[in-house]
């Protein structure tokens, strides 16, 4: 059995009956401020809804076991791995992805700091890190390295060796604080 199906079954708390799964359920999710309505199979993961139904491909899939965090989004303002949620669970919720961070063509502070500090190479993990870091800085505007490591410990980057990401988040926190004062 595929591990994704195992995740779905765990979330649903029951074995998936394929016949039943072909029934579709209407959901309405506010994605990056716009309402997206669709009839989806109950087994559809939130990340699949974001990528395939809404066509927002900035949110990535890197594993099947909610280890890597490439799919991290903000769900009602809090970071969550969108592969651990079903689209039907998110009915009525507000979801924000990496595409919501920029204003027009202007990068936000975190995005700019990631670029400035070389906190990305291939960029595949970056959307997940940005959303996890957004959530971290909301909760803790002045994180020390330990808090950053803990806050982003659920995200995997295979290129940078993490140290530049820590630096980017630290430097974003400083810039945000300066702007507020």
């Amino acid at each position: 059995m595929s591990s994704r199906r195992a995740v779905r079954e765990r979330l649903l708390g029951r074995r998936i009956n394929t016949m039943a799964e072909t029934m579709k359920i209407p959901v309405s999710i506010t994605l990056n401020g716009s309402i997206v309505r669709a009839d989806v199979e109950p087994r559809m993961l939130l990340v699949e809804f974001i990528r395939e139904v809404a066509g927002q491909t900035g949110t990535h899939i890197g594993c099947d076991t909610s280890y890597c965090g490439a799919c991290t989004v903000l769900v009602n303002g809090r970071p969550a791995k969108s592969c651990t949620l079903l689209a039907v669970q998110a009915d009525g919720w507000s979801v924000n992805t990496v595409e919501s961070l920029e204003s027009g063509d202007t990068l936000n502070v975190l995005q700019q700091c990631f670029a400035d500090k070389h906190a990305l190479q291939c960029g595949f993990c970056t959307p997940g890190f940005l959303m996890a870091a957004t959530g971290l800085l909301e909760q803790n505007p002045d994180p020390d390295d330990k808090a950053i490591r803990k806050g982003l410990g659920g995200n995997v980057c295979r290129c940078t060796g993490y140290l530049p990401i820590i630096e980017a988040v630290r430097s974003a926190a400083v810039v945000i604080k300066e702007r507020r004062s």
Binding site: M1, S2, S3, R4, T18, E21, T22, E41, R43, R51, Q56, T57, G58, T59, H60, I61, G62, C63, D64, T65, S66, Y67, C68, A70, T97, V98, E99, L101, E102, L107, Q111, Q112, F114, A115, D116, K117, H118, L120, Q121, C122, G123, F124, C125, T126, P127, L130, I148, R149, G153, G154, N155, V156, R158, C159, T160, G161, Y162, L163, P164, I166
Partner: protein, 806 residues
């Protein structure tokens, strides 16, 4: 280089606007593979009828069909292993867990997954061999027609080994060392959108990283010309060499596309599939190690048997069987070597050229030899290295490789200073006095770059590959901008940024006007058979090609400008004139813009003078590395153009309760010749170090005796995260390479420094116990076994025999 760091790639990537393969193929059909749960089994039957009747299913494909539709893959090995039968899908027998046996094509991923679960495969399990040493006893054969599990083997002997042993003051023997199996597991898995078009062209949008060579595997297997394959890439989410083994899966998708009526097929591997069935790094066991030493610690000879494990099918192997010899003596002046290299096939995932490919394993071996011998001789590990490091450059190794530049002793001194070596020695001793297990270790890593593919003739004299090359194209647009196309396949290595930097610098124009059209396209971009991004070579091959193309474009621009401005070419130069990129005189008094020149050649062509008719402003240059074929009998020749190096020094402590290893301090010094971009080089060094820490501390592709992969999800494999990544003090030295036009060397693989340094530090931490650790990876339970004296494989039997009184 005081300008703020800016990368051309980043604007799209931080906005989530990269274009990765999974973002494409909107109207494609989806394929799901049925994979073997057994490591070794005969396939009695495959029943796809229920799957074919399932909702949304377009067609299925079985291994038996594949055997009728395709040819087996070519083998790099000479006889008898050239008889290995390897198809992109198993026809009648599976040889590793995760090997595909059937494919189901449906209108959605979910429906393909549902249907794939209805495929019934009847397996007859066969005996499994997972250990390479055991495999070479040939009690269980993977490929009967080969008659042996040895994919390749040969004796490598250089210098006067017997004499060196006879003259030795001390001989140290080590029974066994083991470099474990791991992978750099790029975060983006394998994927492709493949269409076998009705015209016969096969379009493969994918994340393959060495397309030129992969096309040579795929085309004969599909009975098409390589020119019929259109292989193209866009943004790639990391590769680290592992994505070279994608080609069997692209072939499956191609066959599915043809069977589905030439419709596009999308295949995205999931993480379990990736860990079980993509590619792993080479695992290597070192046996019967004998080391000849002088009384002062100089190592004069090493002899050993190296047994490499390439998994179930060789694929890119047995090239690793010679690639290690690019760094045969590692960073040491050792002249006499006898290595009996053998490579075994086992019931495990095939290996691929993972970051540090084959050289890292050999350097780890010699680093362990140096540390163990230092220990036996009572010489400090830093002193031992200083006595044995290569003393001068360029240095010709016993097998004819030429190390271009570098000063390893100076790098070690720098790393020691950065970490505060003397203070740490004192602190370590004080901590030990409190009963704490603290160790300091050194790793000297080599990252040889720009392969001479001619070394493949050492494996098989009939190899059709030699040398190395790369192509680049520079075009002047009608707006005066410059567009660069290069055959490299970046996966995060910042090629757009560096290519633009080179072009801008050479022509004296701003980087903003240089556009780099990144991504491989075998049909519409430029490439050679060696094209790709692997083996630390962009800085040499791609930059060499870009440099050549820029020189051609410059010459054309000057020719046109000289005519327009009525000047001699020698009076003119490229640069910025009146705020615009163009060509003009040194005083700027007379100039013409790139845009005006381009329009004359491309737009307003009526009446173009005859002397300009060969001007294209669209110039291609192929860089070819200056290589000769090596001597395959003596196994002698220059196998690589550049040798970047790193010295790592680390301090670790073993938690006495959990047996977790904590890094207390760490320094890494890199020398990759002239640095083109310091931030990018540092990024590669830290990133490669993370792979080393991960490999040493966490990441292990562990199989049970039945060939079940025990670490088949990220939650079991545990790639290193921010929680485990230590801080690193970073240092850089620049020893320009005499063999490249700008002194830069290929880099990025890093060479596995932390694996060496942590092995060394662990040995130091447990010095008092007398245990000589022999593995490249220790889980806390492995360490517990070693420290409690449980019978474990993690300890080497070492002896030192003094042959001469001192």
């Amino acid at each position: 280089m005081n300008a703020p760091f800016r990368r051309k790639e980043d604007n799209r990537l931080v906005r989530g606007r990269g274009r990765f393969v999974d973002d494409e193929g909107g109207r494609a059909l989806h394929v799901r593979l049925v994979r073997s749960p057994y490591a070794h089994a005969r396939i009695r039957s495959v029943d796809v009828s229920a799957a074919e009747a399932s909702e949304g299913v377009i067609c299925t494909l079985t291994g038996a069909e594949v055997a009728t539709l395709t040819n087996r893959f070519m083998q790099i090995a000479p006889p008898p292993a050239d008889q290995v039968i390897d198809y992109c899908m198993a026809p009648d027998r599976v040889r590793f867990q995760g090997e595909p046996v059937a494919a189901v094509v449906a209108t959605s991923v979910a429906l393909a997954v549902d249907a794939a679960e209805k495929v019934r495969v009847d397996y007859e399990p066969l005996p499994v061999v997972v250990d390479a040493v055991e495999s070479l006893r040939n009690e269980t054969l993977l490929h009967e027609q080969v008659g042996t599990n040895e994919s390749w083997g040969s004796l490598f002997e250089w210098g006067e080994v017997d004499k060196a042993f006879a003259d030795a003051d001390t001989v140290v023997t080590i029974d066994r060392l083991k470099f474990h199996r791991f992978s750099s597991t790029p975060l983006e898995t394998y994927g492709g959108v493949v269409t076998w078009e009705a015209s016969g062209r096969i379009d493969m949008l994918c994340n393959l990283i060495q397309p030129g060579v992969a096309m040579k595997f795929m085309a004969p297997a599909l009975s098409v010309s390589p020119e019929q394959l259109r292989v193209r890439t866009q943004d790639i989410g990391g590769g680290f060499g592992i994505k070279q083994n994608l080609y069997p899966y692209l072939m499956i998708a191609a066959l599915c596309s043809r069977k589905a009526g030439h419709r596009p097929i999308k295949w995205i591997e999931d993480r379990r599939e990736h860990l079980q069935g993509s590619a792993h790094g080479n695992e290597r066991t070192f046996l019967d190690i004998k080391v000849a030493l002088k009384a002062d610690g100089e190592i004069t000879a090493v002899s050993a048997t190296h047994i490499d494990d390439c998994g179930a099918y060789p694929r890119y192997e047995p090239l690793g069987g010679v690639i290690w010899s690019q760094v045969a003596p590692a960073s040491y002046r050792l002249r006499n070597l006898r290595i009996n290299f053998r490579q075994a096939m086992t019931n495990k995932c095939p290996v691929g050229p993972n970051r540090g490919f084959s050289r890292m394993q050999n350097v780890w071996f010699l680093e362990r030899v140096v540390d163990i011998c230092a220990h036996e001789m009572g010489i400090a590990p830093d002193v031992m290295r200083q006595r044995n490091y290569i003393p001068e450059m360029p240095w010709t190794t016993p097998n004819g490789c030429v190390y271009d530049s570098g000063d390893y002793a100076a790098m070690l001194a720098m790393a020691k200073e950065m970490i505060g070596w003397d203070d740490w020695i004192a602190k370590r001793d004080a901590m030990r006095a409190e009963g704490r297990l603290v160790g300091i270790g050194i790793g000297t890593a080599l990252d040889s770059g720009t392969n001479n593919f001619g070394q493949s003739t050492i494996v098989n004299p009939k190899s059709g590959l030699s040398g190395n090359s790369e192509a680049a194209n520079v075009r002047v647009g009608v707006d005066g901008s410059l567009t660069v196309i290069v055959g490299s396949v970046p996966q995060g290595q910042s090629h757009e940024t560096v290519a633009a930097q080179i072009v801008a610098k050479e022509l004296g124009v701003p980087e903003d006007i240089v556009r780099v059209a990144s991504g491989f396209d075998s049909e519409r971009a430029t490439h050679t058979s060696h094209s790709g991004t692997y083996a630390s070579q962009f800085a040499v091959t791609s930059v060499g090609a870009i440099h050549g193309a820029v020189e051609k474009v410059r010459a054309e621009l000057l020719t046109v400008a000289a005519m327009l401005l009525q000047k001699q070419r020698s009076e003119l130069r490229t640069g910025v004139f009146g705020g615009v990129a163009g060509v003009g005189t040194a005083d700027g008094g007379s100039h013409v813009s790139f845009a005006d020149i381009s329009n004359l050649i491309n737009t307003k062509t009526a009446g173009l003078p005859a002397e300009l008719e060969d001007i294209t402003l669209n110039c291609r240059y192929v860089y070819r590395a200056p290589f000769q074929l090596p001597d395959p009998v003596r196994k002698y020749g220059n196998l690589t153009l550049t040798y970047a190096a790193q010295v790592h020094v680390g301090v670790i402590e073993i938690d006495p309760l959990t047996h977790n290893i904590h890094v207390l301090d760490y320094a890494a010094v890199d020398d990759c010749g002239r640095v083109m971009n310091h931030t990018i080089v540092k990024g590669q060094v830290i990133g490669a170090a993370a792979h080393g820490f991960g490999a040493a501390l966490m990441e292990n592709l562990r199989y049970d005796a039945n060939g079940n992969l025990l670490t088949a999800t990220f939650s079991d494999y545990c790639p290193i995260t921010m929680l485990n990544m230590p801080n690193i003090r970073y240092g850089n030295r620049e020893s320009p390479s005499p063999f490249t036009y700008n002194g830069a060397k290929g880099m990025g693989e890093g060479g596995g420094g932390p694996i060496f340094a942590l092995s060394s530090a662990l040995q130091d931490a447990l010095a008092a116990s007398g245990a000589r650790l022999n593995q490249s990876h220790y889980s806390p339970s492995d360490l517990h076994a070693v420290m409690t004296g449980a019978p474990a494989r993690g300890v080497a039997q070492v002896s030192a025999t003094r042959q001469r009184p001192i």
